[in-house]
Amino acid sequence: MSCWQTIQDYALRSVGIGERRLPTEYTLCEQFTLIGSGMIWNVYFGVLALIFGFFLATAVAVGKQSNTKWIRKTAEWFVLIFRGSPLFIQFFFAYFAFLSLKQVSPIFDPFTAAWLGALIVLFLNTAAYSGEIFYGALRSIPKGDVEAADAYGFFGWPRFKRIIWPTMLRLAWPAYTNEAIFLFHATTLVFFSGFPTWGQRGDALYYANFFADKTFNPFVPYPILAGYFILMTLCIIGVFGLINRYLNRHLPQEARRLRRPRMNIIR
């Protein structure tokens, strides 16, 4: 079987299109194709959780600064719970919680599947982490900016939308890039926690682990997986770098320089 044939058969296997039966021989081509196919899930979880999480994170950051006590407390507890406990345990807990709810009402049926249940956990998790980042940025907005906005008669929603929010994003962006990278890394946890794979449609790590188990040779599939992830990290850095340039477009050239994302947190 030629490699092109393999790619045609297996490139979309992780989402259920193409050949159902897993290959029986494990050449480099099969490994590249199937692990790459699994990356679809990682991208799916990462992108959707990031987009939805972004909005909730803004809400959480603003909530943490709120003067109303119950809003502030809710936001603080939300951040504490999701940042203080391991994502791995959160996945397990959510899965079994959804399982129990399923017995109450069939509405919760799709929640026990990874595509929705795990997405919700990742979404809440990233919202908590980036909410904390945004909150830090919100607190370090230069006082002068806000005073100037007041002097121009900005108030309430327009002031937030035109002045505070863009500045907050600009300040938080390097740290937020980090958060995005680690969110994508965290997506590998999905199929290793409670959420089951249906019909062996797993993510990239699932297939890498499958090949390592079958060939008893970890030195081929895991480096392939690592290569894919490094590529993806470079893509994220590229896209976020462009956005960073856009956010900082009004600043003098010197200050525009993209601060290298430093990676020192994982979950």
Binding site: I89, F96, F229, I266
Partner: protein
């Protein structure tokens, strides 16, 4: 209820919390040692050594940690067996990798095939600790590498002016001063390490996640071992609370340590402490 929660199986569950704490207690210093070695290698003047240090730091950080956990457990195991194979059975004719199999002679098996159960468990735990140390060593190396460069330059120049050698400057001036710069990063890392411990489950150690799944579940719907339904949700809630409490306590403790370390340092924190008294 109280009677049920004190069965022998539950004792295993409680011991597993001890396993997690033990893992943390062993891994933290080991990872710090790996990190120190990595940082020293990265700032070495010997070029290959410096490349090695930098490659170690960037590769481990650029790839999902869970992939490394899964990789190292097999890779380390095979490496040990391969080395023992070469030493113990030099006259073994067949190749080690036969297609999809990894074959070593009986004497090189690790742990030996006839070893008791606890040896197997301890070996698995040991490999897990080593894996954690390698992965978190890279993160620690990055933090320490940054901290070493954050020590004010004049301090080192003064040491040179006093005629200290490079080695003396490193051990007597740089190392004692770098900790205050490294502590925020290291405390962050400690939090991450705590939150990474449930991954032990993936490495085949019978840890709290394993027992929570075992005890909470109805082992088999037909032959129920446990006098309850699906309680896994509650068991995992307990774990969630355990980790929350643990990170909270660590936070308080690390805050105190930071206050102590900044005492008398040439930083803004140390300066404000001096003014306060």
């Amino acid at each position: 209820m109280a009677c049920y929660l004190t069965t022998g199986k539950h004792a295993n569950f409680y011991y597993a919390f001890g396993t997690v704490l033990l893992l943390l207690a062993i891994t933290a210093p080991a990872a710090l040692a790996f990190g120190f070695g990595g940082a020293m290698a990265a700032r070495s003047r010997v070029l290959p050594l410096s490349w090695f240090g930098k490659a170690y730091i960037s590769v481990v950080r650029g790839v999902p940690d869970i992939a490394f956990f899964l990789f190292f457990v097999i890779a380390l195991d095979q490496m040990f067996e391969w080395v023992r194979h070469k030493v113990k059975c030099p006259d073994w004719g067949e190749p080690i990798r036969q297609g999809n199999d990894f074959v070593v002679c009986q004497a090189a098996k690790l742990p030996l095939g006839d070893a008791p159960q606890w040896v197997h468990e301890t070996y698995g735990f040991f490999v897990a600790v080593l894996t954690f140390a390698i992965v978190f060593g890279a993160f620690a190396a990055n933090v320490l590498y940054g901290a070493m460069r954050a020590v004010p330059r004049p301090q080192l120049e003064t040491a040179e002016a006093y005629g200290m050698t490079r080695r003396q400057t490193f051990w007597r001036i740089l190392v004692p001063q770098m900790w205050v710069y490294a502590l925020p990063g290291l405390s962050n890392l400690w939090m991450v390490l705590i939150k990474a411990t449930p991954l032990l489950f993936l490495l085949g150690v019978e840890d709290i996640v394993y027992w929570a799944r075992e005890l909470g579940g109805t082992a088999n719907p037909r032959f129920t071992n446990y006098p309850h339904g699906d309680w896994r949700m509650w068991y995992f809630l307990v774990l969630l609370v355990f980790y929350l409490g643990f990170t909270k306590i660590s936070e308080v403790f690390l805050e105190r340590l930071m206050v102590k370390l900044t005492h008398g340092q040439a930083t803004t924190g140390g300066e404000s402490q001096r003014k306060a008294t």
